[in-house]
Subunit: 223 residues, 2 copies
């Protein structure tokens, strides 16, 4: 057991780390770049410059932690919202539709995802493990017929990432919408092996409500 004094130190360290990570998330979301000085991060976090190096070796390490903390929490939220769903096809559809909606419901989180790029698809944290599990389950149950899990993940994950990028940069004329997100889910279910009519029906079921995803809420954005 640790003494109360140690406990206080640990709690303070944890608070400093959390403040740095939250600062990293806000910087990514607001400025869309990791090209900032360490001092900018500690200023944003309201902590001393030196304390940065008690927690992180490099800026990249901080930003990676900032991104994956956000994505872990978002993935946990999707998982909780789908607790009553058994069908792997519907699990995948909810994952696709919920993630595509991030661009509208929580653009800051969507921007972080797009900025991280395809790297998050090969990570062992965040959304990739959730997507991999869903896809393998669908394959094992015979629901999906695309026999290479890596390709299934590339198609599903890459398409969602590209969709988010399009939605964030749409100028209105060629913009993609929630309806397109559902159409994308239906399309990807047919790619995985479902008949088109069944895929469309599953991709248009009522979508479970997610808890508001965590993460930065820039000015003017509903929290």
């Amino acid at each position: 057991m640790s003494s109360p004094a140690i406990g206080r130190v640990d709690r303070r360290k944890a608070r400093t780390r959390a403040a740095l990570i939250a600062a990293g998330q806000r910087i990514l979301a607001d400025r869309g770049t990791t090209e900032v000085a360490v001092q900018d991060i500690t200023d944003e976090a309201g902590v001393g410059l030196g304390s940065f190096y008690n927690h992180f070796t490099t800026k990249s390490e901080l930003f990676e932690a900032a991104v994956f903390d956000l994505l872990d929490a978002f993935a946990a939220g999707i998982d909780a919202a789908r607790a009553d769903v058994q069908d792997p096809a519907e699990l995948v559809a909810i994952g696709i539709r919920s993630t595509c909606r991030l661009a509208a419901t929580r653009p800051a989180v969507a921007r972080v995802l797009v900025l991280t790029g395809p790297e998050f698809l090969v990570a062992d944290r965040g959304l990739a493990p959730l997507a991999s599990r869903d896809l393998r389950q669908g394959l094992a149950s015979g629901r999906f017929t695309l026999a290479r899990p890596a390709l299934a993940l590339a198609v599903v994950g890459g398409s969602v990432l590209a969709f988010l990028q399009m939605r964030l940069t749409a100028d209105g004329s060629g913009s993609v919408t929630d309806a397109d997100a559902d159409l994308l889910a239906a399309t990807l279910l047919t790619t995985l092996g479902l008949p088109a009519a069944e895929a469309a029906e599953i991709a248009h079921r009522p979508l479970p409500v997610l808890d508001p995803p965590p993460g930065p809420t820039p000015q003017g954005e509903p929290s």
Copy 2:
């Protein structure tokens, strides 16, 4: 008409710009980051620090030019190699298979593509305009049935990007190969609306040989 003296100045300016862009391409490919000092770029280019600002306002501007110069040239190479192909389905298949092979034939270019991330899918230069044209042609001719060009581009472009990322980070155990690139092309053609057997046949035709793509050739990599 410009005088010979002006011509010499213009040629020198063009050489400096080209040297800076080539330096940016090598830095992206070798170091995998844009987080370098302007001085690093001018040192790599063998030009004076001050000349950077005669050509670019920011590092981002230089790196954007470096990426799109590379992708424009690669897209032109694909287009030239497919000059005798009429069928939009085969045009798309060649584009997918050639781009996926970049990870093996020219990893430096593939790394630049992945580092740029989904942003290149919404650009008006590089591979996106080529892919958009192919997809719209296939739709207009009735060859493809996925009726939203934006979704078709998200699925095709996003999948290829994710495939490249997987191939570049594969540790051997779950690695994706040229055969998977062809399977991906076949899968995506069925997503666009082709019957599975026809898609598979088209995605396994002999692939036209591309001129070696331009761009950085890191040490030890065949040029």
